[in-house]
């Protein structure tokens, strides 16, 4: 009990020392402000591809129906209607659109030709260059054209069999009319709709949390040099940097939780708390392990800069590159993000934490031994 009280007292002292620093507090406040500010833009039209749509023949019913379908859909495409094909082309030229989709004046004829011959120019696609996102956006265009195409194919096929009549009645007679796919996580929860803007916030906060621990490690170099905790017995002194890292992480974790709730990104509270309860000691142990491995403050500082980039690129914060999985698995935010997404096994996470703790304990002992303590 005395040991626990001592731990709490030391932890309180170390936290108080950190909270006296204006910049640390400012970052905590900024974390919440960023979430609130980005949440304000949630309803705005963020999109990966901007498309200007134009009809060569505005009276063409099929073209108007396809255009309406594209304008109403919610996706990574931002589709706007241009007044004329020339204006759509101009939008591509001046960079206000990534692509222009110009529907042929005889869209039905083009689809019918495609059905019969396997080719038929229904849409002229205008771009400045070919890119992956633009190619993928054409899949959406094909889906929007598909009902017309499907009707055409159905009619043509049955007409081949016999002079078919009353076809429209049969088409979609057995339609299920609802979405065929439902998205779930491994925990059986529905996958939430995200926005490009808010989606990286969780990853950014997790990386920031690890960074708070790394920053506390940098402070520990200075304190060791200045002999701040010199009065403590060597055995206890060895754990002060770890406790200091934990002290830096806990307020940041609480603020991250608050920020995730503030911008409606939070998962069920139990899962959020479980992930943070795992990430806090993992971040502190990770930082302490690196500190023990780096002989000097300069090396640790430089490594921090590289790690920041590595964490942002390798962990699925902005884009899940699915690269170098063995390297990804070394980084705590990777596990935390997978756990938040319901795709990390508890056993693996506990093993990671245990391995970190063992390595850290060994590194601390080695370091103390090297120093003759």
């Amino acid at each position: 009990m005395t040991g626990f009280r001592r731990f709490i007292r030391w932890y309180g002292l170390l936290t108080k020392r950190l909270l006296r620093h204006g910049a640390y507090l400012a970052v905590l406040v900024l974390m919440v402000l960023l979430a609130l500010a980005l949440a304000q833009f949630k309803g705005h039209d963020s999109a990966a591809v901007r498309v200007a749509l134009a009809l060569e023949e505005p009276q063409n019913e099929a073209a108007a129906a396809v255009a309406q379908r594209l304008l109403e859909q919610e996706s990574l495409l931002r589709v706007t209607m241009a007044d004329s094909p020339e204006k759509a082309r101009e939008a591509v030229r001046n960079g206000s659109a990534d692509a222009a989709w110009i529907f042929s004046s005889d869209l039905d004829g083009a689809l019918s030709q495609f059905v019969r011959l396997g080719r038929g120019l229904a849409v002229t696609v205008v771009q400045r260059e070919e890119q992956v996102l633009l190619t993928l956006s054409r899949e959406r265009l094909f889906v929007a054209l598909y009902p017309e195409l499907s009707h055409e194919l159905f009619g043509a096929y049955l007409a081949e069999q016999a002079g078919a009549d009353e076809l429209a009645r049969y088409y979609s007679q057995r339609s299920v009319g609802e979405k065929m796919l439902r998205f779930e996580t491994a925990d059986g929860e529905s996958v939430r709709e995200g926005t490009l803007l808010l989606a990286p916030l969780r990853g950014m906060y997790y990386v920031l949390l690890v960074y708070a621990a790394l920053a506390a490690g940098l402070l520990s170099y200075r304190e060791e040099r200045a002999g701040v905790f010199f009065a403590l017995p060597a055995r206890r002194r060895r754990y002060v940097p770890l406790l200091s890292a934990l002290a830096a992480v806990v307020p940041a974790a609480l603020v991250a939780l608050l920020a995730l709730y503030a911008c409606s990104l939070a998962l069920p509270l139990s899962r959020e708390v479980a992930v943070l309860l795992w990430l806090m000691p993992a971040a502190a142990l990770f930082a302490e392990l690196l500190r023990c491995l780096c002989p000097r403050e300069e090396a640790y500082g430089a490594l921090g800069a590289v790690l920041s980039l590595a964490m942002l690129l390798l962990c699925p914060v902005f884009v899940d590159l699915k690269l170098l999985q063995p390297l990804q698995m070394l980084l705590p935010p990777y596990w935390a993000l997978r756990a938040a997404g319901g795709a990390a096994s508890p056993g693996a996470m506990i093993s990671y934490l245990a391995a970190l703790a063992l390595l850290c304990a060994a590194a601390v002992r080695l370091r103390q031994k090297r120093r003759g303590l």
Binding site: G22, A23, R174, L208, A212, E298, G301, C315, A348
Partner: protein, 410 residues
């Protein structure tokens, strides 16, 4: 004057002590990048097959032949940068593989899925996936899957419609065979879908190539993150030292200038040496940046230095604003994240709503991106260049004023 020279020399010495560490770590970073490239080449094979494999498990009722054909078709469809690999497996096996990160997700086909569809009943397929923070890829995958499901639904409408029609009007035909043949025709047309479009490439206002855009983004992000490596030089300084030095005749302006010069020189040297290391590597990996070859080298170099100085001045100001090491490091990191996000270093800024785009462009990182873009495209950029120098001077002035204010308090 002599005091100022001595002080500058001392600060330069302190700064240069960090250089080997920064370069060592940069080498480590480049080695990491090289390793990534090598592994990518090794795992993806030739350039012809440079598509990202998407592994999908299929669990549940797979007994229907139509479903098997549809899955084969999906594997054959060309998704440009993705190749779809589907493996039938048991649900427990699929779940374990998802948790281990071996598959991207799995689709759970409900019992009697195809026969239910034929009766017009709705039994949705559940796609189980990890909900990661990286939403761009996740959203793309989801939208692609939704697009495919819309295609399948529409095809089913036609195929079952044809079977019903045959049952009512064509007694001499086998309705099932008719449906299968129509489904096959749909598949052929889906594979030919690109033939519906005529692609027209137009010359527009000059814009950066993808590689050049990300070169600018990485340049700006690097400089902001490198400030962290300079923490031992700039953070946690003795606040009374400037007053003491001033009492010895070294003005605050001279101290500020010397501190900034030493910090900026460290960053510029690190940048130059990294550039010298990285450019041959880019050439070796055949990453072509045509804008670099066409740009006027002295103008590009001068512009890059001015941008680097501005970003250094901003991080120098942040160091001055933060009182402790932990706060300083976190503030630098947060600054890099925030500015990098808004200025388009991670996602292109064009993805964002207009108001946020304008905000991003007004930030120092946004100004840096604008200036670098203009330099690479060889466009006139007097306004951006003026703004870059103005921010540099303002940040320097702010540091000097902060130090003056602190002196008053002492």
């Amino acid at each position: 004057m002599r005091g100022a020279g001595t002080y500058l020399k001392l600060q330069l010495k302190r700064a240069l002590r960090l250089l080997p560490w920064m370069l060592g770590v940069t080498l480590l970073l480049l080695a990491l990048a090289a390793l990534t490239a090598l592994l990518l080449r090794a795992t993806r094979g030739s350039e012809d097959d440079a598509r990202v494999p998407v592994q999908v498990g299929i669990v549940g009722d797979l007994e229907d032949d139509h479903l098997g054909d549809a899955l084969k078709l999906l594997e054959k469809m060309d998704f440009t940068r993705f190749s779809l690999h589907m493996q039938p497996m048991a649900e427990e096996e699929a779940r374990a593989a998802l948790l281990r990160g071996e598959i991207d997700g799995y689709a759970r086909i409900p019992e009697g899925f195809v026969s239910a569809l034929a009766r017009g009943e709705h039994r949705p397929v559940v796609y189980v996936t990890a909900q990661s923070g990286a939403d761009l890829a996740a959203q793309l995958t989801r939208q692609l899957a939704e697009a495919l499901s819309e295609l399948v639904l529409e095809t089913e409408n036609a195929v079952y419609g044809a079977q019903d029609y045959a049952a009512d009007h064509l007694p001499d035909k086998d309705a099932d065979e008719l449906g299968t043949k129509l489904a096959l025709r749909f598949m052929l047309r889906a594979l030919d879908r690109e033939k519906l479009f005529a692609l027209e490439l137009v010359e527009g206002e000059a814009s950066l190539s993808f590689a050049a855009y990300y070169l600018c983004g990485v340049f700006v992000l690097f400089l902001m993150l490198w400030a962290i490596a300079a923490t031992p030089l700039c953070a946690g300084r003795d606040r009374e030292l400037p007053a003491l030095l001033r009492a010895r005749g070294l003005s605050l302006a001279a101290q500020t200038a010397a501190d900034f010069l030493s910090y900026a020189l460290l960053m510029l040297l690190a940048l130059l040496l990294t550039g010298l290391l990285a450019l041959p590597l880019l050439a070796h990996w055949s990453i072509r940046i045509p804008e670099l070859a066409d740009a006027c080298a002295p103008r590009l170099l001068g512009g890059a230095v001015s941008v680097a100085l501005m970003l250094c001045a901003v991080s120098f100001l942040l160091f001055e604003l933060s009182s402790g090491t932990v706060g300083a490091v976190l503030l630098q990191f947060f600054n890099a994240l925030l500015q990098g996000l808004l200025a388009g270093c991670f996602y292109p800024a064009s993805f964002y709503p207009a108001a946020l785009r304008r905000l991003g462009e007004a930030l120092p990182a946004g100004l840096a991106m604008t200036r670098l873009r203009a330099l690479l495209l060889g466009q006139p950029d007097a306004r951006a260049a003026g703004a870059v120098w103005a921010v540099t001077l303002l940040a320097g002035l702010a540091v000097w004023l902060l130090r003056c204010g602190r002196r008053e308090r002492l």
